[in-house]
Symmetry: C2
Subunit: 150 residues, 2 copies
């Protein structure tokens, strides 16, 4: 894929939509394409994490260990960002992410992640929004679980 094609592809990812094409070249140069076969793990709960992934194609399952075994808590698809939690707060991976079919990703190292959100604050705003949405969903689920339990 040529650099321009790569930039066009990045431009279609909502997280980068507001970043100038000329600046996306940095990302196209420094990020890494990683492909996963069905059943491969993008990351494993409990492992240290040093990359985030943007899913370019395919679907993945988010699994967490519970006393009742591994349960699926979410599905990820095209353009989803995953793995940024372990980068942001230096904790082990909070979930296992397993490829459901062939999955193509853009792997973004911790260094590149921080360089990008510093250089492109709009990307930081989008990530804040994404985290806020997830927090709102998780809080709603917690409220429901607690009201069922009482």
């Amino acid at each position: 894929m040529s650099l321009n094609e790569e930039v066009d592809l990045l431009k279609k990812i909502p997280l980068f939509a507001k970043i100038e094409a000329s600046k996306l070249k940095l990302l196209a140069f420094t990020s890494e394409r990683l492909n996963f076969a069905p059943g491969d793990l993008l990351c494993r709960q409990g492992d240290p994490g040093d990359s985030a992934y943007i899913i370019l194609e395919g679907e993945a399952d988010v699994l967490i260990n519970t006393p009742q075994g591994e349960i699926s808590v979410a599905k990820l698809g095209k353009n989803d960002l995953v793995g940024e939690m372990a980068i942001l707060i230096d904790i082990p991976r909070t979930a296992t992410v397993k490829a459901l079919g062939n999955v193509a990703t853009l792997a973004i190292s911790k260094d590149l992640f921080f360089r990008m959100v510093t250089e492109f604050p709009q990307m930081g705003v989008e990530i804040m929004r994404e985290l806020a949405h997830r927090l709102e969903n998780t809080t709603a689920q917690l409220r429901e679980a607690r009201s069922r339990a009482s």
Copy 2:
């Protein structure tokens, strides 16, 4: 309070610690000091939200409505940021925040909030980290509530 004193005060808030003093003058100029008496509400669950608050002094209780009535889910104190969820994702306030004693805050409007995280990406990184911590805590509580329920 003089502008320099105000900037010194802002400099001690971890969220702004890495921002140059000269730039904090913008914040000192454009943010608003809001004081709350014991029992006053900084915000009410369900209301639209157009400001975030940084607590400068005092403590506040975070309350949510449940079928069993209002319950306290967290306490906030000096330097805590609250109210940014409704700003980030345009949802009504997700909790009521009540002053436990006299509470002094810095009120940051939606416009100023986005201007600041765009101009000072480091502040965006700190907010991302804070949201990631909260998400991790809430997810851990949800896991626990679900394993108790099953």
